[in-house]
Symmetry: C3
């Protein structure tokens, strides 16, 4: 299934990431050069669950390229509400647009869409599974703010167990040289086994820290995320721990002068507002870089195309194997092939990458 | 009331339909030639009830012409919700836009809007009454896929009693030569008397079929529509009949090699998914042709204008006659003139075309 | 805090109002000259409460300048619903757009947004506080329809106590020469003391009228607004008075030939529909002029910038003073400075202009 879809960052070669990041930077430096390069093209933004920020970022990107946008953010008012299948919706929209960015609450839905689509699909978040344009945005941010992807000490802080953004970032940065990770969280919320395996295989150094305070001094990059209150083991634990993972002016005093603080946004209270005025606070700049990341992606897909060999490496059909993930697109959408592939955990569903049985 | 509004396909001469269809085909073949021809113009899409598909089709059409779009699909969040009259909303929007495409749940609402509007109105569906851009789309499809409007054997299948799309298509095709219709439905759901009258007057041949299977072999065109479960005379009847009006691979084997299958979409289960990959399945292409149909319409209305002699032929004012249709715009909107006209059924309301008393 | 934001008409000099009005008129006369002047620019329309009319007016304005628009009208489907602060939403959007038009239910919210924004903010209505683009629209209307801002007899009718639009218009017109006002309302709903003070200070003549009928003959301009039923002192009072403040054809007969009738729209029943066809009914034209007013504003802010010396004259920080207004943005948004300024009523909150204590 070689195709010009952006479902998973890992279906591209690392050098292709670099090419997208370089293009994003050129677009930032010379916006006028690109402001008509998608003229006459239409992006459809299909947001089956709302995400203002991501949708605005895509819209802004397409407009900065001279293109146009159709789309919905409110599937309650669409034919989707009338029981139309994802496949039919995609086939219809492929007739109205030149490229589709889709956000959907089901794991694997972006791949399911790609199978039916005559136009390129961009995964703008498929359930708890992947959100590759966020990771591309993070790479653009590192390139602009830190000059590259090698030799950094990167702290990741917050809910590392569920944090899809953090997992993807670690996977991506473990492909480069001499990066070191500090995993800052409670013991219960540290990274899941498969992320440690990625780190072990890549040979990256990593260590654990239970407080932000102890970790901060050595970091070049601090990637903050939110811990939802209900993820703590008890209300008492929440009360005891709540300040430990909040970045404030006091903790910033202990940090390097050239640290950058990143956050996928929206933040709630895990970064004190006083930090916003610190020049090392890069998160609002990061949101802006996301527009250039998406511009580079859209333009590449609409011109030369992405160099994707397989949407998911090693995918094949193995009938009789069933995905048990209730949030997988296979549980809702008929007529999808029984894709599976081998992962380090065993045989997994080709859509949601959960173990099949 | 001669005017540049597109309320009813029948307010145009048949040769003007041909002109629109030809333009749609030229726009499909040479999109670059037209991609700036509505630059600086604004289309307002007023969708008082949601219809993603139709709205996207209009948006895409306007963008492909280089124009812009404003509009709503969610009247709950508009001043409409504050009790503003249709007339005032239209007059306001006519100040903000150059052309308006309106969908509204009330019969006759498009004509009511046209009366108050300083800019051209396109009827994008007025209740159960008319949906002329769908019929224009169907004509474009026949022209592209079958080379013209004459000499076809056309099967129409499903709910022929309520199916506004089917009625309009039959009315339109009965104006051409040597077409033959096969009306495929249960006895209860066959076409209403006025449609038979149209057929009789036109001299078109037609026959009835109670199963898709028997009808399929002779067809050049099969127009599928959905039968809602509650339209069958009883649950038992539904169970007994449900497969009879479903098009599947088996039935397709009995069909001509150059049959085309059309459907206004969204489909639910009246066409099996396996049919989608058959090249004779034209319904997704048909959705795409709808963009060109709407491009041709918008461009014509914004440039030379439509050649409409009367919005509804023979319309005059006859005070004292009252429309009893509770879904007619006259029951909701004040200050509308008491339009009536003669139909073959008797004197009908000029807005909804139901008998007045 | 000198800045290129449009929060309050009074933060501009009167001669700058004239410059905006003149530009709006030139744009109306030569639309082609301006239809690409904001090409490549993006307006974000943040409507925290719906207002179709105002939002469409802004969208139409930006499109007529060749620019693009992103935005929401339904904060329920945005990250705002996830508890994001206004400040963070604004900072994010400032990264995606070049200028922001914001409508928000809280008094003072536009100023709060301006404090955090890297791009120009336009106040498209902040609670019951200000709606300066409406007043700018009214000035453009007077200029086009009456040739200028001096020497008019202006009747304002309806709910003068709460009518933010009317207060702003009186404040604005009191800066010009030889205007005379007739305040037409019940005694209970006449203008609040601060508006009388503005009138007294300016030296403008003014008088009171309890019926529209008595006032109409002397007017050059009649500015109608709606009285909500619940604003009458009792249901009996409402019944007794309801026709008194409705403009109809009968009352129009008593008016000057060159009167113009204005209304901010939507109207409910305070102007009879029969008046719409009177050429003196200027309210739908006024809605259209609003597009030119906003075009002039957006273009000025994106090119040379507004000549704002202070967002609110005399504003300073006085810690310890508290705003008691429960609809003030200060009651909801953290980290806002304790702005206050001196008004004729005493020390007021710098955001909502209510008395602080």
């Amino acid at each position: 299934m070689p195709a010009n879809h952006f479902i998973d960052l890992n279906s591209l070669k690392v050098e292709d990431w670099g090419r997208l990041v370089d293009l994003a930077e050129r677009m930032r430096e010379n916006p006028e050069e690109y402001n008509q390069c998608c003229r006459g093209k239409i992006l459809a933004t299909l947001f089956y669950e709302p995400s203002t920020r991501t949708q605005f970022s895509f819209q802004s990107a397409m407009f900065r390229l001279g293109g146009q946008v159709i789309g919905f953010d409110n599937p309650g008012t669409t034919s989707v509400a009338k029981g139309e299948s994802l496949k039919d919706t995609i086939r219809m929209l492929a007739g109205y647009s030149d490229i589709i960015a889709m956000r959907h609450p089901l794991d694997g839905s972006a791949l399911a869409a790609a199978i039916s689509s005559d136009v390129p699909i961009i995964n703008a978040g498929d359930g708890g599974h992947l959100h590759p344009t966020q990771t591309l945005t993070d790479l653009v941010t590192l390139s602009i703010e830190k000059g590259g992807f090698d030799g950094h000490c990167i702290g990741v802080c917050g809910d590392l167990w569920y944090g899809r953004t953090v997992h993807s970032l670690i996977k991506a940065l473990s492909c480069f040289n001499n990066n070191r990770f500090v995993l800052i969280s409670t013991k219960e919320l540290t990274v899941p086994p498969y992320v440690r395996e990625v780190l072990d295989k890549s040979g990256c150094e990593y260590s654990f820290a239970e407080t932000l305070e102890e970790a901060v001094p050595e970091l070049d990059v601090l990637y903050m995320t939110r811990i939802q209150r209900e993820r703590f083991s008890s209300p008492e634990e929440y009360e005891a721990q709540k300040g430990v993972y909040v970045l404030d002016g006091e903790k910033m005093k202990r940090a390097k002068k050239d640290l950058i603080v990143m956050h996928p946004l929206p933040r709630v209270d895990e970064i004190a507002v006083e930090v916003d005025s610190d020049p090392r606070a890069a998160y609002f700049r990061q949101a802006r870089y996301g527009v250039f990341a998406r511009m580079a992606l859209i333009y590449t897909m609409l011109s030369e195309g992405l160099n994707v060999r397989e949407l998911r490496e090693g995918t094949h059909i193995e009938p009789g194997k069933r995905c048990r993930n209730k949030r997988c697109v296979k549980a809702f959408e008929f007529d999808l092939p029984d894709f599976v592939h081998q992962s380090s955990d065993g045989l997994v569903c080709g859509f949601c990458e959960q173990i099949v049985s």
